[in-house]
Subunit: 199 residues, 2 copies
DNA sequence: GCCTTAACGCAAAGATCTTGGCTTTAATGG
DNA sequence: CCATTAAAGCCAAGATCTTTGCGTTAAGGC
């Protein structure tokens, strides 16, 4: 077999088109969907409405995303993913506090909150944690790893998820009580005081 | 004014009908809705489908609940409310452990989980915590009050919500990791060890 | 038992959503 | 610049959802 000859049809990917128009449509649809979800909630996201606001034909949306649930999955995965790098302030407490502030900044906006609630509904159809959640989780893992490199005592990832991320998210999701940075710092404080152990 | 005479039209409630047929329809619709939510998720709950399974006319459902969101609110409020009294084992640790097991029993079934996720979507439209959540919260408050009566050291309600209820719910909601009674007991253990203070 | 009327059933009309066949546009490789 | 073709647009048919008017059933009060 000569190396420059395609040996099988499955060796050549079908040449997906990533640039130009497709990307524009994708962004327009995401923006329109995020706005509509912020306005009316994820449960009544309608594809014709999204298409109209995005200036796109409904058929296109149906073909690319299938149905409202599929679109919702893609939108939440792309708009809720952390866009800033994990903070690196030099101390564990500083990193966790900054991470919490950054996370709160994302999920306490009208749009972020609506998207977060939508993503919970999505979790029903998929198994395991969503990639978006995995991203935030790995940010926390990186913060803990930094602390370990410095030789600083630090909690485990499980403890950080359970006693920092979980309370933060649940307060916001169920609006049990207002969630601000002062509250977040209380959580960080409790976490490092009780669970920061040397390696 | 004689006490047996209605003094104004607004003193007489419009004679709502609670018995018989209405109650039957209500239950049939709730059951059908819960089943359909468990099967296909709350986001595509359709009123005609619910009505068909309940053996009821769609018009009836539209008139009583307005739309799918209204029905969802009512169903989750009624099916997710705790039906057992708060446990009273004699120790704080025992009460919390039993409460957690009882809660897990509700929210880890297919139907309970789907309803819980649906109720998160509902939280978007209402302000403040849902009555269902308030009920579970007050169960925890009762448990802490019992401990206080016995003179046992105990955490605050805020700490109990943040470090026991929140991790439990979030794991289940986002299926981050399996949630069983062993995990719940780890949470209870951490909570009483670090936060159980005398009054 | 009889009357009143809230709640339900029925059917038809209108709105909205979804799908499929076909044409047109424009990204990519030569 | 041209050829290829993935992706988007257009339109019309079909399915599904939602509303509305009106007749029927059955709680609740007398």
């Amino acid at each position: 077999m000569s190396p420059d000859t395609p040996v099988g049809a499955d060796e050549r990917p079908p040449a997906r088109r990533e640039g130009g128009r497709s990307a524009r449509v994708r962004e327009a649809v995401f923006s329109a969907a995020a706005e509509l979800i912020a306005e009316g909630g994820a449960e009544r996201l309608s594809i014709p409405a999204v298409a109209a606001r995005a200036g796109v034909n409904p058929t296109t949306v149906y073909r690319r995303w299938g149905d409202a649930a599929g679109l919702l999955r893609d939108v939440t995965a792309n708009r809720l993913a952390p866009h800033d790098p994990p903070p690196d302030t030099g101390t564990l407490r500083g990193d966790l506090s900054a991470w919490a502030a950054q996370t709160l900044g994302t999920i306490t906006t009208t749009e972020g909150l609506a998207l977060l609630r939508g993503s919970v509904a999505c979790a029903a159809t998929s198994e395991g944690p969503s990639p978006r959640m995995a991203a935030r989780e790995s940010q926390l893992a990186a913060i803990l790893a930094h602390a370990a490199e410095r030789g600083d005592p630090h909690p485990t990832l499980r403890q950080t998820l359970d006693y920092l991320l979980a309370p933060l998210y649940l307060r916001v999701l169920l609006n049990l009580a207002p969630a601000d940075t002062a509250y977040a710092d209380t959580l960080v404080d409790d976490l490092v005081r009780h669970y920061a152990k040397p390696d």
